[in-house]
Amino acid sequence: MKYTTVIIFSLFCLLSVSAQDELSLHFLPDNITTSRTNPAMLPEKNMVAGLPNIGFNLYHSSGNFNDIFVENENGGLDLNFGKWISQLSETNQLNINLEAETIRFFMRRGKFGLNINHEMRFQSFFEYPDTYVKLVGEGNAQYIGQQVNIGPDIQQNAFHAIGVGLSYEWNDKMVLAVRPKILFGIGNASTIRKKATISTAEAYYQTTVSTDYQLNSTGIVNYNNEGFDFNFESLDRGFSSNTGFSLDFGVQLKPIEKLAINISIVDAFAKINWKKNARIYESKTTNTFDGVNIDFSKILQGDSLNFSNAADTINFDNLFDFTARDASYSTELPSRVYFSAAFQLTDRFSLHGLFYNERFRDQNRQAYSLGVQAQLHKIFNIGLNYAYRFDEATNVGLNTTFRFGPLQLFAATDNIIHAFQPLEADNVNGRIGLNLIF
């Protein structure tokens, strides 16, 4: 009992550490958790209970944590602008996904299967232009005479999802499954319009900020006199009136005995309507900071020069000039498509191939993976795969399953090199969990 408590506690601790395209997870054999990627991929046993499992995904297009943050001589952290800037592209993304599935239950009766689960998900998508960093790290002098984009794109969602899946084994060559999910929004921050530019004039460096920016938030991001502030404590909420819906659909085909073809779409039509604490922040303005304006004629009459007002006017938040209002809104969530094939080479080895596409805000990201699974022992299965993910070719994934009686412990990552050193990785994911198989 002592160990069981420690294990469960430790699993939850992992959640606090980090954040899955689930490519490697997709290849796990005989595991109910793989139904996350395709509801038609079902375990062999007729009854399986999924205990908590946790997945994370961290992706930063422009450097890993340790590149950007370095320890200084005082034991603190320094933001290393030089290294960060050297890895920036014109557009950069920081994506963090945390998923904690609290429970899952699968039961098969005849050709029908019932698959119920609950999970909590936090999705964060942050896209920023390189100038967003360069303006600070290199200064704005390099952009004199230019109009520079500084508008970040933020999409953050935290929500509960309860899924009820239904599968049907059409025959021994085809399984169909559908899993509608009801979503309960916890918190959101999302940009609708994201135009924000800053320009520095050649004359005497007058600074002009031009915006057409809209940020919707339910409290993750608040705006006050001092500007924007993140409030992640607002995510400490249960079920709310912010409801939504999504749909998973999957099919598994076995045209021949040793070949399985899996096609799925996950989180199709996913949308959440935000009502509780929903506010809309808008800025549509053009403001120029000219420096302290001096009334020359008054100076001639003996007035003193006073620069103290410069402080307020040069504050970017003032230049943005945001207005706020209460209003409900809705957000869409990313949808994913998995298309894979598995070929059983021998009793112990199988080969896998996968195409993955994620679509969000009219943008698609693809990943490709090839892998091999080996049943090395009756209690131990391991898989190795290589993936080309999001324009990166250095992804060697690993998954493994231990089977101890009814207890099934599994772990999967798409980048084993950095799975245990997420701060050294700019693209890392993983999932670990337990299932009970009856």
Binding site: C13, V17, L77, G291, F296
Partner: protein, 523 residues
């Protein structure tokens, strides 16, 4: 199952240990600083945007700024309004007041000799009283009649009759009118400087006219509302006055030339006779306290003021006279850079002594003079230096560059966009609270504004843009930020072509001047 739990535990603990360093690092994100920064930030510091119209209107306290139909600026400094009334001249009538005038005959011509050569033709009395006394040797009541043929009102001669029954057995009998008769409104003709008075006595018992032993008349409080005649050589004295010109109070050196300056005399006159100026003092006082008397033939010869003709009683005639570069050495004197104009003026009546000019005046006649100095801002200036001290608050822009790194330089940029036809050079020194110079932005006079292009008439035809850079090191920048409390400015103005080209300043000419700074930060 139980036998596998330690293995599972060990796997998870291993994973956690591997992640432990990551956890610790993340905790430090709250206290983040920056490194590997090599940045250059450019921010605007201040800007000013002005029109010459606004500047000139606020430049000094004493001037008024006007703009002609072309928008050309004109500085106008006016002296006090000074005037002189008719009281002095009217005093000539007082020679008849309160003096008993004995009449030697029943018809007498009382002599009227006004001072200062005044020869009155007639006067319309505003106030006045008339009394008379007599003595009678007649042993009976008499009736006394008196009339003044020189004094008429509504066509009727002034007259008065007084009956007496005072004889009581002793002679002579004294009598008379002790309460004065009101003479206001009467017209007093004074031909040949005489006032004709007649009297008679009628013996009531005897029934015939007779003479009196003595008769005297007394006028009192005789004043006039109108007089006409030759009013002699009088002097209207006006107060001495000084017109302050503080436009150049900060001037230190350089040359200055106004193209069309004037000193104007504006005279209002309702006296109906000739008046000529008598300019006792008309000096230009320079900013160096040197005194330059204005030289002009009109100072010696005087300026004749216009006056109303006899059929223009009550009219005010205006005279506008200008000392300018045609009739005086004003342009030359103003090149000494004026700070004041000192003047003392009188007015002389009938300066030519022509007694044939019979003038007039009323009790409300007035002669007023106002002097003004008019300086059209049209001219040339070279090496014109001005010093000024501006008190400043701390250079606190509240942009904490140090949070990103150490400042290693600051490069100031002064930008100007001007359509004012003036070159402006600036030397700017920073001084601490004890007014001790601690640093400078421009060590020497440095061009900061280039004169706008002008045509042959001195009018701006194209604006100019000019920038100048000044770099200071981190140490100097910090000291300026921390200690500077005063700016010592030396500004040098010059019109194009080293001050040889005259230019015209107009209300809508202006300049935009801004200063920005590039700050280099390294960490």
């Amino acid at each position: 199952m139980k036998r596998y739990l330690p293995v599972i535990y060990l796997i998870i603990i291993t994973i956690q240990l591997l992640l432990l360093s990551s956890c610790q690092k993340l905790d430090k994100l709250d206290d983040l600083s920056a490194t590997d920064v090599d940045a250059e930030y450019a921010i605007p510091l201040f800007s000013t945007d002005f029109k010459m119209g606004e500047i000139l209107e606020n430049f000094d306290e004493n001037s008024s700024v006007f703009f002609d139909e072309n928008g050309s600026a004109i500085l106008r400094y006016q002296g006090d309004f000074t005037s002189s009334g008719s009281r002095d001249i009217f005093d000539v009538l007082s020679v008849v007041n309160n003096i008993p005038i004995p009449l030697m005959d029943t018809v007498s011509a009382l002599p009227f000799v006004a001072p200062n050569g005044v020869m009155l033709d007639y006067a319309i009395l505003k106030t006045g009283g008339f009394r008379y006394v007599f003595s009678s040797e007649h042993e009976e009541p008499i009736t006394v009649s008196v009339s003044i043929p020189s004094m008429t009102k509504n066509g009727e001669i002034f007259s008065h009759t007084l009956g007496t029954t005072a004889y009581s057995g002793t002679i002579p009998v004294a009598g008379g009118l002790l309460s004065p008769l009101d003479l206001s409104g009467y017209t007093l003709d004074i031909p040949q400087d005489s006032i004709y008075v007649e009297f008679s006595a009628f013996r009531e018992n005897s029934g015939f006219a007779d003479t009196l032993a003595g008769f005297a008349v007394i006028f009192n409080d005789v004043t006039a509302s109108f007089i006409q005649g030759y009013l002699g050589n009088q002097v209207f004295e006006f107060d001495r006055d000084t017109i302050e010109i503080d436009f150049f109070e900060n001037w230190t050196e350089g040359t200055l030339r106004f193209e069309d300056p004037t000193i104007n005399f504006m005279v209002d006159n309702s006296f109906g006779f000739p008046v000529r100026s008598s300019i006792n003092v008309l000096d230009i006082i320079s900013v160096n306290d040197r005194i330059f008397p204005l030289s002009s033939p009109f100072i010696a010869n005087g300026i004749d003021f216009a006056y109303p003709q006899p059929d223009e009683v009550g009219c005010v005639k205006q005279t506008f006279f200008s000392f300018d570069n045609e009739n005086s050495n004003l342009v030359e004197l103003l090149s000494a850079v004026p700070k004041a104009v000192d003047y003392d003026i009188d007015g002389l009546t009938n300066p030519d002594g022509n007694t044939a000019i019979r003038g007039f005046m009323t009790d409300s006649s007035l002669l007023s003079v106002q002097v003004e100095v008019v300086l059209p801002v049209f001219g040339a200036v070279s090496n014109y230096n001005v010093f000024d001290t501006i008190k400043i608050d701390r250079f606190d822009f509240d942009v904490d560059f140090e949070q990103y790194g150490a400042i290693n330089y600051a490069e100031f940029k002064l930008y100007s966009e001007s359509d004012i036809p003036l070159d402006i050079d600036l030397q700017l020194l920073f001084a601490d609270q004890n007014e001790q110079v601690i640093d400078s932005l421009f060590t020497d006079l440095t061009p900061i504004v280039k004169a706008a292009e002008v045509n042959s008439e001195g009018n701006t035809i194209a604006p100019t843009i000019h920038t100048v850079l000044s770099r200071v090191t981190e140490g100097r920048f910090e000291r300026i930020r921390e200690e500077a409390r005063f700016l010592f400015l030396r500004v040098r103005f010059a019109t194009p072509e080293d001050g040889m080209r005259s230019v015209r300043v107009t209300a809508d000419q202006g300049a935009k001047i801004g200063m920005g700074v590039k700050v280099g930060v390294i960490k």
